[in-house]
């Protein structure tokens, strides 16, 4: 991957902003239709399917599973609902309201295809879009732009996809300085450095994790939860790292371990670094020697059943802690504020928990088995997806 010069990139950005200006009077419904059609083309891109497993370090079977999920999120009905919810009924027949001319996305690469929602949300906001890909997925963004160009060349001209190595401050300042909004995902230090330079133009998404809660009414949520854990090899912020079980937690841990084995046969894990594998080894070892903990380890992952209730993220690689939960009502109190993105629920009505989960910083509540399928309307980080400034933190409940 060769990083292009700032001057060349700025020239491309200028052209994208000009292209956006030419589309300012176009109804948003046309944009919705083009994005949905492009997503369908992107999903079937054979080059992407062939090259993405190696780049993203996920198994080919996993890529075959997650690419359709990423494409389905750009569903025309969902996008139309989103713009109408944001800008009122009939929004699809009108151009996008005045908003940022250029939105820049610095996407992470822990999960592939994050460029798709980034591009779609930028286009729906009526902005030109810059996507700086992550190191492990430089393919999805240009592939989507190619797909869009095939169905709507004018809209595709408003998008710039690029890559430069992280930490290139000169490039960041030159390029990101041009955008009215910069959406960045990264580690705390990276985001702090960006915040210093970009001020309130930055929408920062730091490291986050997800959890699940299993009520007494759940029949058997283990298989669905195992899929949530396994998808993307548990690398994303929507991946559950802990599950709180009202009822027989040990039995659930055993069923979850078996379900992880079964999922791994369909969706084998990708390659992991020796450092990551060593971390997993020691997390399991620590639990094995801790009082009151049981480790269930197999080819499908690791389940740690432990009495301690405090949420602690695992090292990933399909490693989950199972905690017993005496009372569903205390569940939100067990979560640290600002660290949990999504709560998957099975066998319980989440309604009484919503206010407390919102206060903890949770942005999405959904059924177990749906955790890795966020709609485009997901208010990630409790922020409005189309950059509207809202006073209250958002939480979306999917039933």
């Amino acid at each position: 991957m060769n990083a292009e010069t700032s001057a060349a990139l700025l020239a491309r950005l200028g052209a994208a902003v000009d292209a956006r200006a030419r589309l300012r009077r176009r109804p948003l419904g046309d944009t919705v239709a083009a994005l949905a059609a492009a997503a369908a083309r992107w999903r079937d891109d054979p080059a992407l399917r062939a090259e993405l497993p190696a780049a993203a370090r996920l198994s080919p079977a996993m890529i075959a599973a997650v690419v359709p999920i990423a494409a389905e999120a750009l569903d025309a009905v969902t996008m139309t609902k989103l713009i109408e919810r944001t800008w009122g009924a009939g929004a699809a027949r009108r151009p996008a309201p005045d908003g940022p001319a250029l939105v820049a996305h610095v996407v992470a690469s822990n999960v592939p295809a994050l460029a798709l929602p980034a591009i779609a949300l930028g286009c729906l906001a009526g902005a030109a879009v810059l996507v700086k890909s992550g190191r492990d997925d430089p393919l999805s963004a240009p592939a989507f732009q190619r797909a869009l160009a095939a169905v709507d060349a004018q809209l595709a001209a408003t998008i710039v996809t690029t890559y430069w190595p992280g930490g290139d401050v000169a490039q960041e300042d030159a390029v990101l300085g041009r955008a009215e909004v910069v959406v960045a995902t990264g580690g705390d230090a990276t985001l702090a450095a960006l915040a210093e330079r970009l001020g309130d133009r930055l929408v920062a998404h730091g490291p986050r994790w997800s959890v699940a809660v299993i009520g007494r009414g759940a029949r058997d949520a283990a298989a669905a939860l195992a899929l949530d854990v396994a998808l993307h090899d548990q690398r994303g912020c929507l991946s559950p790292h802990a599950v709180y079980v009202a009822g027989e937690a040990r039995g659930f841990a055993e069923r979850l371990a078996a379900a992880l084995e079964a999922v791994a046969e369909r969706l084998p894990p990708g390659t992991a670094s020796i450092e990551a594998r060593a971390q997993a080894r020691f997390l399991a070892a620590q639990a094995e020697w801790a009082a009151g903990a049981t480790v269930l380890q197999g080819a499908g992952g690791t389940v740690i059943h432990e009495g301690e209730a405090a949420f602690r993220p695992t090292c990933g690689l399909r490693t989950v802690r199972v905690h017993p939960l005496a009372d569903l009502r205390v569940f939100p109190d067990l979560l640290p504020t600002g660290q949990v993105e999504c709560v998957g629920v099975a066998g319980a009505d989440p309604t009484p928990l919503v206010a407390a989960l919102r206060a903890r910083g949770v942005s999405r509540v959904c059924p177990v088995g749906r955790m890795q399928r966020p709609p485009l309307s997901w208010p990630r980080g409790q922020r409005a997806p189309l950059f509207a400034r809202r006073a209250e933190p958002l939480l979306e409940v999917e039933r």
């Binding site: 060593a278 020697w289 009082a291």
Partner: protein
């Protein structure tokens, strides 16, 4: 005679030139001893379906992860000493190594120190860049320095006090040695050497210590305010102390082990192997395997893996320890340490200086 005493005698004899203890028979004997007398270890082995009856090779003895030393006491009998790891701010989460037979630790530590640091048999005044035992009674490194001072040096002076490195006293001592042409044995944590080098640089001061002076450092970059690469460390030893690289020996040890590995440079030099690559070599009663984290099978030669030490001198606790260190095999008998598993608890004697905060 107890098994530990018998093993200590065999190690002491090896130090005098008798063939060393035959590793595999001893490994199996020690495992049977630990299985019988160390209940938490026995339970760990039974969970894996391993008993002395099922183990035919030394490689099959189950390895205990070093994190276990933070959770339970692993000993085959009442301890004569309890050593505690340095580093984590949560003192309750520090690893504890209970040593029921201190003489075994002593003879193993001294035999390796003599072989790798003092192959010429010289006895030098020792300046210890670690706190004295009164300040750090539970440090296995400090204990080793005490023994070095008693048995292998002509004297020992402790250069770290309650407030850290006593820089002015140390600089004065080095100046006196330089003036008299006296050779010194400088032993301690790498972070303290880095502090000495910084003090020399600040003052524009350097020394030419007497010939045969030598440095033994341990602990790596942990606790250093300014990281110093190994070549830079060796360069500073030469520039600021006048000690050439082959007299600068890095030690690799762990609180959980009674044997240590050392940079092979000086041992090689005194045995006609000056061109051999630097590596961390150990005594014959310490073997190290490099293992795949998933399978715990040996990695391909030269590949990176988790370091797993099998130390017969640990007969009183657990002999096979799976560390949080990543490394690779180097040469026929050595290893190279490449770093620690990300997220592993900071620990190690390199943090002895950092530990000197008020309590």
């Amino acid at each position: 005679m107890t098994l530990e005493a018998e093993l200590a005698a065999a190690i002491e004899a090896a130090a005098r030139g008798v063939p060393p203890p035959d590793f595999e028979p001893w490994a199996l004997r020690v495992f049977a001893h630990q299985f019988e007398h160390n209940a938490p270890y026995r339970a760990f082995c039974v969970r894996r379906g391993v008993t002395p009856a099922t183990v035919a090779r030394w490689e099959d003895v189950p390895a205990v992860p070093s994190v276990a030393f933070r959770q339970v006491d692993l000993a085959c009998g009442p301890p004569e000493a309890v050593f505690v790891t340095s580093g984590t701010t949560n003192r309750a989460a520090r690893g504890r190594h209970l040593v029921p037979h201190l003489a075994l630790y002593r003879c193993s530590a001294l035999a390796s120190f003599a072989r790798f640091v003092l192959p010429d048999g010289v006895r030098l005044p020792c300046l210890a860049f670690v706190p004295p035992p009164a300040l750090r009674p539970a440090s296995s490194l400090v204990q080793m320095c005490v023994w070095v001072g008693e048995a292998l040096a002509s004297s020992i002076e402790w250069m770290i006090g309650e407030r850290g490195l006593e820089t002015e006293r140390l600089l004065a001592r080095l100046a006196a040695a330089e003036a008299s042409g006296e050779a010194l044995l400088l032993v301690g944590v790498t972070a303290a050497f880095a502090e000495l080098f910084a003090a020399c640089r600040t003052r524009g001061r350097g020394f030419r210590l007497g010939p045969a002076s030598r440095v033994v450092d341990t602990g790596g970059q942990k606790g250093t305010t300014r990281p110093l690469s190994r070549p830079a460390f060796l360069s500073e030893c030469w520039t600021l102390l006048g000690i050439p690289g082959y007299y600068c020996i890095n030690e690799y040890g762990m609180t959980e082990l009674c044997s240590q590995r050392y940079d092979s440079a000086l041992d090689d030099r005194f045995h006609g192997r000056s061109l051999a690559p630097r590596r961390l070599a150990g005594p014959p009663w310490l073997r190290t395997r490099v293992l795949d984290p998933d399978t715990l099978a040996p990695v391909a030669p030269g590949a990176t893996g988790l370091l797993c030490h099998h130390d017969l001198a640990n007969a009183g606790s657990v002999s096979v320890v799976l560390t949080e260190d990543l490394g690779r095999a180097a040469g026929d008998d050595g290893i190279a340490v490449l770093g620690r598993v990300p997220g592993a608890t900071p620990r190690g004697c390199g943090l002895l200086l950092a530990d000197l905060e008020p309590r």
